[in-house]
Symmetry: C2
Subunit: 229 residues, 2 copies
DNA sequence: TGATCTGTCTTACGATGTAAGGGAACCATA
DNA sequence: TATGGTTCCCTTACATCGTAAGACAGATCA
């Protein structure tokens, strides 16, 4: 009876938390105002009292995710403050990646936000601080920020990420047209054959395994270390 | 009168061309079935005879863009076949970038496609061919492909790209809260001050200037060259 | 001629975001 | 205690979107 008569009042935080939960469970596509309201035991228009609209909701979602990253990074930074810039950034980015793995919809969402999620500023400030304390010039730090790109936030921009929707590469390719492709794309097929990549962790897009992520990350870190000289 | 009585018949190609034109002119947001039909002097449902639906239209758009890249790359590859892998990939990616600059909506579109645009396979096959002929192992070529990420298709995944919608960084930041930010984000603000980046080419997202793009690209190419060793 | 095929249009439906305003509960003040 | 404002949620209604179903006109072919 209590849950019928009394109801925890809505709030921006409660709405955002429910939105995250819904997106995690059923994908960002399922996140509609009406559905979100239903999950909260409320009518759709009630959400507008706590949020400025759908776009504002998505902005809030993005902020929430970045907030998770900031929180995770905060826990790490205090622990390994004695390490060098390279190790600290590495930990940072890997921590961010874990957050992204918990929210597979987040990379796509961040990519579509018109304005920068507020928390990103704080996050990037920390990166710059680490770089500067590691002997980087501001110029090189700036370049490095750009070079990291989405890696800094824990995801590699795989241009094609079948994970975000239906249709894996195998489904579409490994059928009748396989032979034709081997002819038209000899090098790609040879590579695929040579690799026979055991995609054991297809959590974030095609082949975006931990190995690939860390390889690219180290490639960048090594290159920057060399330039820093 | 001719344009009233006689009308060039619709076709998949004509629809896609009109879609590209519309997206270029007014952004991908304006690309609705009804609007596209209007531009073609036709009713919305007529499009469905030539395309399987909105999603299919977007897939076609993605394919069209990749096709443009393939065409541009083809022109280049024949010319500079004597260069080394590094120079050839560089030209390739820069050519792809020019295509993306012509279609600012393309990066976002490619990121949301469920299945891989068909032309991408051919494009990537060419990259792998270049790498292999440059002495790369299949394994390293695979890693390299992942490391390039969206750079291979000509755009850097700037997590925040205010260019795709309203609201530039300056508008949101350089107001009353500027002072507060300088306090909260000392390193970022110091960097911004030290750089005072003259963003003369804000065509593709914030700070995604040619310089940043090429810096990141060379960072990766240098790193791969060293590993290839 | 009549049947089939092609390409376009008409109509209609469900989903979505949201503007406009109603109303109940609470709360401070007179 | 009465009253007027504030807070919070709801009802209703609308515009816009993608698109299912099928009508209709002209071309093609039997």
């Amino acid at each position: 009876m209590d849950e019928k008569t009394f109801r925890e009042p809505l709030s921006r935080e409660r709405v955002l938390a429910a939105a995250v939960a819904l997106a995690d469970a059923e994908g960002i596509k399922a996140l509609t105002m009406r559905r979100l309201a239903t999950d909260l035991g409320v009518e759709a228009m009630s959400l507008y009292y706590h949020l400025p609209g759908k776009e504002g909701l998505l902005d809030g979602l993005a902020d929430t995710v970045v907030g998770e990253i900031d929180a995770a990074v905060g826990r790490i930074e205090t622990a390994g403050a004695d390490q060098d810039w390279r190790a600290r950034l590495r930990q940072r980015f890997l921590a961010a990646r874990e957050v992204m793995l918990r929210h597979p919809w987040a990379p796509g969402l961040l990519g579509t936000r018109a304005s920068i999620p507020a928390g990103v500023y704080a996050y990037y400030d920390g990166i710059v601080a680490t770089l500067i304390s590691g002997g980087f010039s501001y110029r090189l730090a700036h370049r490095a920020l750009h070079a990291f790109g989405s890696l800094a936030l824990g995801f590699a921009q795989e241009v094609f990420s079948p994970a975000s929707a239906g249709g894996s590469m195998d489904d579409e390719v490994a059928e009748a047209e396989f032979a034709a492709m081997a002819e038209a794309l000899p090098h790609l097929m040879a590579m695929a054959a040579a690799e026979t990549h055991d995609v054991a962790d297809p959590t974030l897009g095609w082949c975006d395994s931990q190995v690939e992520f860390e390889f690219t990350l180290d490639l960048l870190l090594d290159g920057l270390e060399r330039i820093r000289g």
